[in-house]
């Protein structure tokens, strides 16, 4: 029986159809993936189901009855819960307070905090979701925040839980944990919808998959009857290259070393984030940095882009030590930066696309003289970049926040690559970007490598590292613990090295 049935749903924002005559149904007790590129209308469809926005036409039935869902409260009362991509949590409050919010237990006139804690402990026991109800949200890691959101949905007695891009913020290990939790919920009779654009995950966890493209319904398939290549084609609407292909190769050992880090040490809150890290990147090489998030990747990026100052050790560009590195100095030495988080370091979201294309380079003669901006040149330059990098924009004067994630990333990458850098620090270059754009960004990076640039690639996606890198260095505890040709590694070996297993073997022998 269909638990939820959405028929002929249309939703327009201005003239743009976010959803156009979409049909979508979910059976009770299944894990159903909703697949599509960014901007395909997945989130809009689910926001309609959760009452956060109203459809312009179409009908929704839940449990066989036609319903109107005017706001989240209506949805919650129908047994629908949603875990948003950006968590809906108040950071200074406790886990318990966040979970019961809106449906708080009372004791007389007062809020019954202890009662809330007890109820959550019971839920946590029942579904095997470990959590400390008294901890503050600001003190727990991302994976646990997501768990809080799931418990929140369970506390509201949700039978259907919608998860919007649940794995985008998780490490590989946390993803596996999450999938375990989801399968457990399914066994307990809950229905799950996952919004995603990651094909591997769909194959691994879901029973059925529905594909949306440009706001339109494409088809619904049993996961068992399909494969990643077919899904990719259905999602993008054309053939795409599979990521299994490898573009790495041998690096010319006589090529000059463009970027070198020697014995870098950096402390944060008394913890050594970089602990004697050394690496070299040659002209015409892509060096991939592989590791579990939080092992010093961020500090490595910030070191070679001049954002933080090392306690000890040095950075060399083209063989010369950089004295007192600052972001401006590194930029002027030809080190381009594709930051790991485009929202906080890459773009000023309310600024026009035009301004964003020259951020950091605005001092160059090309764009300003004596502090006065050359508007005509900025217009020309932005227009050219939009064309060169195939960035889909209405106009270069629109705020960059009006673009999809993939196109925002293209602005960041276009900016970094257009000023002819020698060295490119590419941190999570395809995070939150759809397949079409991933393909494009990969091509660009390979093109840059062929031009003789040195590229330091930091990525959480092992597939991406394997596909692009010539050499791979594994980072663990602020050190490089293993390094070699990409072809010498496989996923299993990397997984062990990333978690520090290989290092122990090497230094202390196995226990």
């Amino acid at each position: 029986m269909n638990f939820v049935e959405m028929r002929d749903i249309s939703k327009y924002y201005g003239n743009v159809a976010a959803n156009s005559h979409v049909n979508f149904s979910v059976q009770k007790g299944e894990i159903h993936s909703l697949l599509g590129e960014n901007g395909a209308g997945k989130t809009t469809l689910m926001k309609i189901l959760y009452g956060m926005t109203q459809p312009d036409s179409g009908t929704i039935s839940v449990g066989g009855k036609k319903v109107r869902i005017r706001n989240p409260k209506d949805a919650i009362n129908l047994g629908i819960g949603m875990v948003h991509q950006h968590f809906m949590l108040a950071a200074p409050l406790t886990v318990a307070e966040n979970i019961v919010l809106g449906y708080e237990p009372k004791k007389g006139m007062f809020f019954d905090f202890e009662g809330a804690v007890k109820e959550i402990e019971a839920l946590s026991e029942q579904y095997g979701l470990k959590i400390d109800p008294r901890a503050k949200i600001q003190d727990i890691p991302v994976g646990q925040k997501q768990r809080v959101e799931i418990i929140k949905a369970l506390y509201r007695k949700s039978d259907l839980i919608i998860l919007d891009e649940p794995t985008a913020v998780l490490t590989a290990l946390e993803v596996q944990e999450l999938f375990g939790v989801l399968k457990g919920l399914k066994e307990a009779g809950k229905t799950i919808i996952i919004i995603t654009h990651k094909l591997k995950e769909i194959m691994q966890v879901s029973d059925r998959v529905t594909i949306l493209r440009s706001g339109e319904f494409v088809c619904t398939k049993n996961t068992a009857d399909t494969n990643p290549n077919e899904l990719a084609e259905l999602m993008v609407g054309r053939k795409v290259h599979a990521m299994e292909e490898s573009f790495g190769g041998d690096v010319d050992e006589s090529a000059p070393v463009f970027l070198e880090v020697k014995d870098a040490v950096y402390k944060e809150h008394k913890v050594k984030k970089l602990n004697g890290l050394s690496l070299k990147v040659r002209s015409g090489e892509i060096l991939g940095i592989c590791g579990v998030e939080g092992n010093g990747q961020t500090q490595l990026i910030e070191t070679v882009t001049g954002i933080i100052k090392l306690r000890h050790g040095k950075v060399l560009v083209r063989g010369e030590e950089v004295k007192d590195p600052t972001p401006l100095r590194m930029l002027n030495l030809g080190v381009a930066h594709i930051p790991e988080d485009r929202a906080s370091r890459g773009l000023i979201k309310d600024f026009p696309i035009r301004e964003n294309t020259i951020l950091g380079y605005h001092r160059r003669r090309q764009f300003s003289r004596r502090g006065v901006l050359n508007i005509r040149e900025m217009n020309r330059y932005a227009q050219e970049m939009v064309e060169n990098f195939g960035i889909k924009v209405g106009s270069i004067y629109d705020p960059v926040s009006s673009l999809s994630g993939g196109n925002q990333q293209k602005v960041v990458i276009g900016r970094a690559l257009s000023q002819n850098p020698d060295i490119i620090i590419a941190a999570q270059p395809t995070r939150g970007v759809d397949i079409g754009a991933i393909e494009y960004i990969h091509e660009k990076l390979i093109e840059m490598k062929k031009q003789g640039k040195a590229i330091l690639l930091i990525s959480a996606e092992i597939d991406e590292l394997m596909a692009l890198s010539d050499n791979i260095a594994v980072i663990f505890g602020g050190q490089i613990v293993a390094q070699g040709k990409a072809s010498e590694f496989d996923e299993r070996r990397l997984g062990m090295l990333m978690t520090g297993y290989g290092k122990e073997e090497k230094e202390h022998g196995s226990h």
């Binding site: 956060m52 926005t53 706001n71 989240p72 409260k73 919650i76 949603m82 948003h84 809906m88 949590l89 108040a90 950071a91 200074p92 409050l93 307070e97 966040n98 919010l101 809106g102 449906y103 708080e104 009372k106 006139m109 007062f110 809020f111 929140k152």
Partner: protein, 308 residues
């Protein structure tokens, strides 16, 4: 010894008198910002309260009716701020500044039209002071607890009630979430707008009482711009107190003590330097105390469901 105790008593009772209006202002700001609305208009709301108090007392001859007028005046100005910031999503600072200018101008115009005087009103009935028998004769303690305007006791009740509401009730939990992350509150079906209106209007009522303390609390007259920056100091005290009602008490009392000592020291050192003391103290504490609580994260940003 007796002399020392008497001196200490006078110092503390003076400090409390200085602290009372500031504490009203700080409590007003606290509830407002907890709901996510920044209110530099508290200065103007207090001024409206001062005038309302005198007007009510003048019209009816009763200072207690004046107090009601003060609350109404504060609420009226708060309502303007609420509609502008919540409904029309105006910048909170702009709206607050507008409230201050409007209050200053309007009270002056009314002063002239009612009493034909640009500087001050006629004398009206004041609330006077309450002396608690027995208690008032105990040294120091008597000075602290007795001999104050009735508004002192009202202030304590408001502070305690506000603390209980914020931290012990469901409504308070919802207020804190609204100030922290209105999208979160909205996503679980909490009526963000309603909570914000309640907070801003409560703020207006409390600010109005603080203003009334200055005009009919003791002396019984209104003089032009008589709040004289206390609203702004109250905003600093709000931060100082970590957006917590109990902290607001502590902060305003510290300021009151500094001010009170300052009066005494004026005989021994140049006045201008001594007068800076309370402000320097406030700045020093704000800089030096580490791990001060952060304010409500969403304060100052108007909530817009569609933009979320």
């Amino acid at each position: 010894m007796t002399e020392f105790l008497a001196g200490l008593g006078t110092l503390l009772s003076g400090a409390i008198r200085i602290a009372i209006p500031i504490c009203f202002g700080a409590l007003a700001c606290t509830i407002c910002e907890r709901g996510g609305i920044v209110n530099i208009g508290v200065e103007g709301m207090m001024l409206a309260g001062s005038f309302g108090g005198v007007l009510g007392s003048y019209l009816t001859g009763s200072a207690w009716v004046g107090l009601l007028f003060a609350i109404l005046a504060g609420v009226l100005f708060a309502a303007i701020h609420a509609v502008l910031t919540i409904k029309y999503k105006t910048g909170h600072i702009i709206s607050g500044l507008g409230i201050n200018l409007l209050a200053s101008g309007l009270t002056t115009v009314l002063l002239v039209s009612l009493w034909d005087n640009r500087g001050k009103s006629d004398a009206v009935a004041s609330l006077g002071t309450i002396n608690i028998p027995v208690l008032k004769d105990i040294p120091v303690l008597g000075d602290i607890l007795s001999g104050h305007s009735p508004l002192f006791y009202i202030l304590i009740v408001i502070g305690v009630v506000m603390w209980i509401v914020l931290y012990k009730t469901v409504f308070g939990l919802r207020v804190r979430v609204v100030g922290e992350n209105p999208q979160t509150a909205d996503s679980v079906g909490i009526n963000v707008t309603a909570i914000q209106y309640i907070c801003v209007l409560a703020c207006g009522a409390i600010a109005g009482l603080g203003g009334a303390y200055l005009s009919i609390g003791d002396i019984g007259l209104f003089s032009r711009d008589m709040v004289a920056g206390r609203g702004y100091i109250a905003m600093a005290v709000t931060i100082f107190g970590g957006w917590n009602p109990i902290g607001a008490f502590g902060g305003s009392l510290l300021f009151g003590v500094a001010q009170s000592i300052q009066f005494r020291l004026q005989e021994v050192a140049p006045v201008q330097i001594i007068q800076m003391l309370p402000y320097i103290l406030t700045i020093l504490v704000l800089i030096l105390v580490k791990n001060r609580p952060k304010g409500p994260a969403a304060a100052g940003k108007s909530f817009d469901r569609e933009a979320g």
